[in-house]
């Protein structure tokens, strides 16, 4: 009986199954149809502009901006957005790290280097209609200088802290002194101490000009109701107002930031009328989004993906490197304290091989700790070209004819602009060092906080991998950070080098300073505190409709300069 029952049910089921299959097929057809019609709608709607291109540009960001107020930001994703909305007095010459006029048409610095008179561009308006003039300039400078309490925290106002070093309520270390309005389009900024990097520093997004009206209206300086964690202001979460080609539309946290063209922009507006930063935190997912066509481009392409993306017809654009990857030495370790050993290791490393085998295309071999676009780059430094025989000789002279064993620290599961795949770099160097008799004990650790803690905060490390991405054309921002004082990372004390760096930083004359840095770079190359390995170049990938992208070594990329073909 149960058998018969089953067979009856079986027939019923077969019918249902057929119906089900049919249902699914129809649903699938509907889905495809809808997706397609939507795409058609989009291009249709956007094709209405005077140019025949889709004027909406979608770029994948790896994270939300931390703050829409660039003065309170220090991360790349915040600046990527703020560079579209804001402009500074000083801009960056396309494709370089050199300053050029932007909102200031020109400037003149006094003999002593302390005061700079800016002549401002006329007829510039902020997105809210406020005039950009000398009052606005001084309003911004005074705003930064007069920050108090929480606003002064390094995590909050990182760049002002690091570059201008002091605030109105404790002016002892402050570099800024005052700003004077000399007329509608003339403003003079006076510094308390010479600061040769003043003009290039002003090209940083953190020092962009913001609308005084909006800053006040949306209480930009009211951050952090509680002392536990700083809380962003109303301005920084939804009302940023600058003079740039794009104005802020909306920010759907975790999903996207939308900007639209500012019709009264003073400069070239370009083809893009709407910019969307879509937040996709997974690197793999960014690539897939590009392949699926939902985004037009993304940054920091994994080295392994470059070739396959190119082959598939995508445009891969490499920035000029503004990075340094180095092999650090802990001089507290007996062997590494010996200059002969350090020299031997310098000769033992085949940088060309390392670069071609483990680093992205466009990466340059490093001979010093600054990229060649930075002032003070010295063509004449010791280069220690790959010579394993010489390395062995030097090791023997140092008393290690059979080599030695040493700890090698490297981070895992992390990708930095200057080191996309640390594990590969480690493996490569491990093999090279083994060839001259140096056996390394691998000591991997998770990037943050373990690795950084261990390498920068303790003495428990030997050789290690680390690097840096520069912010702007400032030599001190590279070598001053590394070798300006005694640090557990390197564990050496070299008063001569420390004072030379200190002196160079305080010089007011740019040419004189450049010369000083050239000498310092020579000095560093002889001392070998660490080995500069490479200047890895970060790449971006774009849909093939993007025919030109203004790649910049310092990420000064404004989307109004993008060219689209369809």
């Amino acid at each position: 009986m149960s058998n018969r029952g089953t067979s009856v049910r079986g027939a019923g089921f077969a019918r249902k199954r057929a119906a089900l299959t049919a249902g699914f097929s129809i649903a699938a057809l509907l889905l495809t149809g809808c997706v397609q019609s939507q795409r058609e709608e989009n291009t249709g709607a956007e094709g209405e502009g005077d140019t025949a291109v889709d004027s909406t540009f979608v770029f994948a960001a790896s994270a939300d901006p931390k703050s829409l107020d660039p003065a309170f930001a220090s991360d790349g994703e915040s600046f990527r957005v703020s560079r579209q909305i804001f402009e500074g007095l000083v801009g960056v010459k396309e494709g370089t790290a050199d300053p050029e006029p932007l909102l200031a048409e020109s400037w003149e610095t006094s003999e002593d280097g302390l005061s700079t008179a800016f002549t401002l561009r006329e007829g510039v308006k902020f997105h809210d209609g406020t005039d950009f003039n000398a009052d606005a300039v001084c309003f911004n400078f005074d705003r930064w200088y007069n920050w108090t309490g929480l606003q002064q925290a390094e995590t909050v106002s990182y760049y002002y802290n690091n570059l201008f070093r002091g605030f109105a309520d404790k002016p002892e270390n402050a570099i800024y002194e005052s700003c004077e309005v000399d007329g509608d389009n003339e403003a003079t900024v006076t510094l308390a101490k010479p600061f040769a990097g003043f003009i290039p520093a002003l090209s940083l997004p953190a020092f962009a000009m913001q609308s005084p009206t909006a800053l006040e209206q949306y209480k930009a300086d009211e951050i952090g109701g509680s002392a536990e964690a700083p809380q962003q202001s109303e301005y920084a979460t939804g009302h940023p107002v600058g003079t740039g080609p794009f104005k802020f539309d909306s920010w759907n946290v975790g999903q996207q930031v939308e900007l639209s063209i500012f019709e009264d922009y003073w400069g070239e507006k370009g083809q893009i009328t709407e910019t969307i930063f879509r937040i996709i935190d997974d690197p793999q997912a960014r690539r897939q989004a590009l392949e699926a066509g939902t985004i037009d481009g993304y940054d920091l392409v994994a080295p392994a993906d470059t070739q396959s993306l190119k082959d598939a017809g995508y445009n891969v654009v490499a920035r000029d490197p503004f990075t340094i990857l180095y092999l650090g030495f802990n001089h507290k370790v007996e062997q590494l304290a010996d200059p002969k050993v350090r020299e031997a290791i310098a000769y033992a490393i085949d940088k060309e091989a390392l670069v071609s085998q483990t680093l992205p295309e466009g990466t340059k071999v490093a001979t010093q700790f600054i990229p060649d676009v930075v002032d003070g780059y010295n063509e004449e430094v010791e280069t220690y070209d790959f010579d394993p025989e010489k390395a062995k000789e030097l090791l023997a002279e140092a008393g290690y004819p059979d080599g030695f064993e040493i700890q090698f620290n490297y981070p895992t599961n992390v990708s930095r602009p200057y080191m996309p795949t640390p594990e590969q770099v480690f493996t490569n160097l491990q093999a090279q060092l083994a060839d001259v008799g140096i056996t390394v004990t691998p000591s991997p650790a998770a990037w943050s906080p373990d690795y950084l803690d261990q390498v920068q905060g303790t003495e428990d490390h030997g050789l290690h991998l680390l690097g840096w991405t520069g912010d702007y054309n400032d030599t001190d921002n590279f070598i001053g950070v590394f070798f300006g004082r005694e640090k557990p990372e390197f564990g050496f004390s070299n008063p001569e080098l420390f004072s030379a760096l200190d002196e160079a930083r305080g010089m007011s004359d740019r040419d004189e300073q450049t010369k000083a840095y050239e000498e310092i770079n020579q000095q560093i190359s002889e001392f070998i505190p660490a080995i500069p390995l490479a200047h890895p170049a970060p790449s971006l990938a774009f849909n093939e409709r993007v025919t030109s992208y203004p790649a910049s070594p310092v990420n000064d990329e404004v989307f109004s300069n993008i060219e689209l073909s369809e």
């Binding site: 909406t56 995590t155 975790g254 969307i276 937040i279 935190d281 897939q288 939902t294 943050s448």
Partner: protein, 334 residues
């Protein structure tokens, strides 16, 4: 009934208190401090000290705990270290996304799982049964992220049938006020936005629903097998009751008890699965946010989240218990 609910809710208080203590100590014993995570390679000892002072991480544990609990009782979960926004606000914007996703996953898991498990039991030992057992085994063993990748690769990239990531096509200008995108689209009459949101839910929903689906299939199958051989079913048949009412009122209803329990338990699994699914599909829900909080050692978010989930769990269990009484009259009497 009300007394039962009241009693259960009262039990929540000591549970949450104990949890808050454990949580507080656990979070602070994690290796490395939040200061290093915040400052990254730009961390200098000075900067670390300043950050610790700023956030109160240098104060005695007891003081930190009382400050924390005091605020918590006032409904203040603090401000996220990563984003600088109030934790509660962050949850409020992301939770609807995870709920939408969970609902789709559940509909898929229950809608396919229960009938499949039932059919497998009815066809015990035959092809349909074997294949459903094998399929559910595969469903349980395939890691969520792998399945998510495969689904995404095939449907979004290879065939371009469904969107690869996010909750909405970036080019669609949709109005959002509840943050339930499908609901928003329906309420505002923006049908294209609602449909677009539905399309964005399909792949992550399938990926997330697969493991619960597999488990529901197995539980339903086992439960139906047990019930359909029970004495009272035989009696009902012998009595000459219609097969349809035997299946409906006797077999399915009685077999549903363990299934409902399982579904309740699956909800927890869905949340942890959401961490992976949401990451793969760049889906802006609680899961992805939690992952960022773990990586960034975002203490306030972690604390707030776990307390929040504990409350949610307790409520789900309560609902499951109450639903027993709907299905099984004997529970009502007890």
């Amino acid at each position: 009934m009300l007394r039962v609910i009241g009693k259960r809710l009262a039990l929540l208080i000591p549970t949450l208190f104990g949890l808050s203590v454990l949580l507080f100590l656990w979070v602070r014993s994690l290796p490395g401090g939040p200061a290093t995570a915040l400052l990254g390679e730009k961390a200098t000892p000075d900067a670390i000290a300043r950050v610790n002072e700023l956030y109160g991480f240098d104060r005695p544990l007891l003081v930190q705990y009382f400050t924390y609990m005091g605020k918590l009782l006032q409904g203040d979960f603090g401000v996220s270290i990563n984003t600088g926004r109030p934790v509660l606000e962050e949850f409020a914007t992301r939770f609807p996304a995870t709920i939408e996703l969970t609902i789709v996953a559940l509909i898929f898991a229950i809608g396919v799982g229960v009938p499949l498990g039932y059919l497998a039991a009815r066809h015990y030992g035959r092809f349909l049964d074997h294949s459903s057992v094998v399929l559910s085994l595969i469903g349980i063993t395939v890691p969520v992220f792998f399945l998510a990748f495969i689904l995404k690769y095939l449907f979004a990239i290879q065939w371009s049938i469904l969107p690869p990531d996010g909750r909405q096509n970036p080019r669609i200008d949709a109005t959002h006020f509840t943050d339930f995108y499908v609901l928003d689209g329906i309420l505002t009459g923006e049908w294209d936005a609602a449909w677009d949101a539905v399309l964005h839910l399909i792949l992550p929903g399938l990926a997330l629903g697969t493991i619960p689906l597999a488990i529901i299939v197995r539980i339903t199958r086992a439960s139906v097998l047990e019930v359909q051989n029970a004495d009272y079913v035989r009696t009902a048949r012998a009595k000459g009751l219609m097969e349809r009412s035997i299946r409906g009122s006797f077999i399915l209803r009685n077999a549903m008890l363990p299934v409902v329990t399982t579904i309740g338990l699956q909800l927890g699994l869905l949340i942890s699965g959401a961490v992976l699914t949401e990451t793969v599909f760049a889906f802006n829900g609680i899961g992805r946010f939690l992952r960022d909080a773990i990586f960034g050692l975002d203490y306030p978010v972690l604390q707030g989240f776990i307390i929040f989930i504990a409350i949610l769990y307790a409520l789900i269990n309560l609902i499951v218990d109450l639903s027993y009484s709907v299905i099984d009259p004997r529970v009502r009497v007890q």
